[in-house]
């Protein structure tokens, strides 16, 4: 009861302060629509990238033995426990204009990751990837590896086994992991503001816009928050019992 109340009261306070009459106009402002569009596209892109690189990593962590595996798992967990601002700073030192990798890339191609929409995606992926990897890894551990053996005896290669057996058997954990990953990416603030900046229409996601608007236009901040809550609920509610419980 206390836990429910503690979570519910701030939302109630937010709703009580909401400028219901002007809501339509507030939500229609370019600052809101730009931020919303950016948030949704970058969260989905980051989730897509996490799925592509995260499922194979989860498989390796769950199914194979190699020296340094516990180090690898600790490393992938690090962005979860690190303050996102630190993550953003680390990303700058790696991919910034004078960064470890960003420097040579900028010098040869002129491509710069920070302060672009790809910077937002990079920051989102950095903080959200661990949620996917750890969820899928635990799902894979729970699924019987002998099914993969059975497929191998039938002549299936590694890729066919992965695609036809491993992924379908781990589907519930993959969906749960993707939802957690997406939710984390949508709410990302610290790493984004550090690494990608806060430029409206380019790198200003909804959380950044909310933070900025709290200083100047409190009603707009509340409207943005409500929109973010609505989008989150729209994605989480249909999935909640079916997948998140598993």
């Amino acid at each position: 009861m206390v836990a429910i109340a503690y979570v519910a009261i701030p939302f109630a306070a937010l709703l009580q302060r909401a400028p219901w009459s002007d809501l339509g106009a507030l939500v229609g402002q370019p600052v809101v629509t730009d931020a919303l569009r950016l948030s949704i596209t970058t969260a989905f892109t980051a989730t897509g990238i996490s799925l592509v690189v995260g499922i194979p990593l989860a498989w390796v962590l769950a199914r194979t033995q190699f020296p340094g595996r516990s180090v690898a798992r600790a490393l992938i967990t690090l962005p979860m426990v690190l303050p996102p601002v630190v993550g953003g700073a680390a990303l700058l030192f790696a991919f910034g204009r004078r960064g470890l990798l960003g420097g040579p890339v900028y010098d040869s191609t002129g491509f710069l990751l920070p302060y672009s929409i790809w910077g937002v995606v990079a920051a989102n992926t950095f903080v959200a990837l661990p949620f996917l990897v750890l969820t899928v890894e635990s799902g894979l551990r729970g699924s019987d590896p002998r099914y993969e053996d059975a497929a191998a005896t039938l002549g299936a290669g590694r890729w066919m086994i992965f695609r036809r057996i491993t992924v379908p058997n781990a589907a519930p954990s993959i969906i749960a992991g993707a939802v957690l990953c997406w939710a984390r990416a949508l709410g990302e603030f610290g790493a984004t503001v550090t690494f990608a900046g806060n430029l409206q229409g380019r790198t200003q996601t909804v959380p950044l816009a909310v933070f900025l608007a709290l200083e100047s236009d409190r009603d707009a901040a509340i409207a943005l928050s409500l929109v973010l809550i609505a989008v989150s609920l729209a994605v989480l509610l249909p999935l909640r019992d079916r997948w998140l419980a598993a």
Binding site: D149, A151, A152, T153, G155, A156, M160, R164, P168
Partner: protein, 351 residues
């Protein structure tokens, strides 16, 4: 023809066995849990690397750590029926059987058409679109067999093919499995901890204890002349030659008749009876079960916490009792007793 010398160290297990299975032969690897039977099977399938030895099938070396020769699992002409069958839960019965054909390069349509033929052969075409969870134990086993045989293997491996079934289904499925195994003419190797399964299904038994072979031979030889008390306890099954004298009755050489629960598979049968299934009484039991006969105790032999009682009379058999039961019945060599066994405890199979 399979010729495998398998040496594997895995945890507490130190496995070192040599196996030969000829074409058309059914060999049962029989032993207690943890003896290394499944590990041997996995090594032959390529799922468990060898530490030493050599696996050769029809003249092709599949694995030889000495020379570095190694054929990966998927390229071995071996079909495997796993314990619990391991049918892919999210695919239909048809797609389960088509999986191996697709993996070996058939188009999806061709693989499915061929898979349908296999389901028809095993009498489960009606369940082609069902998910494995909807199948009974016996049906699931047929799908597992169809899936393993669809890729046209030269060797069929079966790991505890009946362990997933309850006692009543087991009786039927065992007979059915024997019939299906007969349709495959390659080498067949099955692993089981159940001596009855081994005796009914196999032409030859290989007893494995703690990673070593302790005895091998035809079921009749191993059961009648066990090499050690342990083997005696493990495979001490009564095997009686008989002829059909009715739809459900058999006549032994002595002329005694026994009744079985299921219709007989053919005119010449062998009847297997577990020693634990034979009950002994000092007086003729009331309400006489049909299979009751008068016998003489020929010998008593204590074996761990059980006593094996050899019976003379019309049904030459060995019963197994607890020492307490032996004391209560005051059994001695020469004691006259009544023996009885339920029809469901008689397993008749074609000789």
């Amino acid at each position: 023809m399979l010729h495998a010398t398998i040496r594997v160290r895995l945890g507490d297990l130190d496995l070192d066995i040599e196996l030969r299975v000829g074409d058309g032969e059914v060999v049962a690897l029989l032993g207690p849990n943890g003896a290394g039977k499944t590990t041997a099977l996995r090594a032959i399938a390529g799922l468990q690397p060898l530490d030493g030895g050599r696996i050769e099938l029809d003249g092709t070396v599949l694995d030889d750590p000495g020379t570095g020769a190694y054929v990966p699992t998927g390229d071995r002409p071996i079909g495997v029926v796993f314990q619990d069958y391991l049918l892919f839960p999210r695919q239909s019965t048809l797609d389960n059987v088509a999986f191996g054909l697709q993996a070996r390069g058939r188009s999806k349509a061709a693989a499915r058409a061929e898979a349908r033929g296999w389901l028809e052969r095993f009498g489960i075409a009606d369940h082609a679109d069902d998910k494995p969870a909807m199948l009974s134990g016996g049906q699931a086993q047929r799908v597992a067999l169809a899936r393993a045989l669809a890729t046209d293997p030269q060797l069929l491996l079966l790991d505890e093919p009946l362990a997933a079934l309850d006692a009543t289904t087991r009786l039927h499925v065992r007979t059915e499995l024997r019939r299906h195994l007969a349709t495959f003419d390659g080498a067949r190797l099955l692993v089981t901890h159940d001596p009855l399964d081994a005796v009914v299904l196999a032409d030859r038994l290989v007893i494995v204890e703690a990673g070593r072979i302790t005895q091998e031979g035809a079921p009749a030889v191993v059961t009648s002349r066990p090499a050690s008390p342990y083997v005696a306890q493990l495979v001490g099954i009564n095997l009686l030659d008989a002829t059909a004298s009715g739809d459900r009755t058999v006549r032994l050489a002595s002329g005694a008749e026994l009744t079985v629960a299921d219709p007989l598979p053919g005119p010449a049968v062998a009847v297997a009876i577990r020693p634990q299934a034979i009950a002994l009484h000092r007086h003729r039991p009331d309400g006489s079960p049909r299979n009751t006969w008068s016998a003489t105790v020929a010998d008593l032999e204590a074996d761990r916490d059980r006593v094996r009682v050899t019976l003379g009379g019309p049904v030459p058999a060995t019963a197994e009792l607890t020492p307490a039961a032996v004391a209560e019945l005051e059994l001695l060599s020469g004691t006259q007793v009544w023996a009885s066994v339920k029809a469901v405890d008689l397993v008749a199979y074609e000789r």
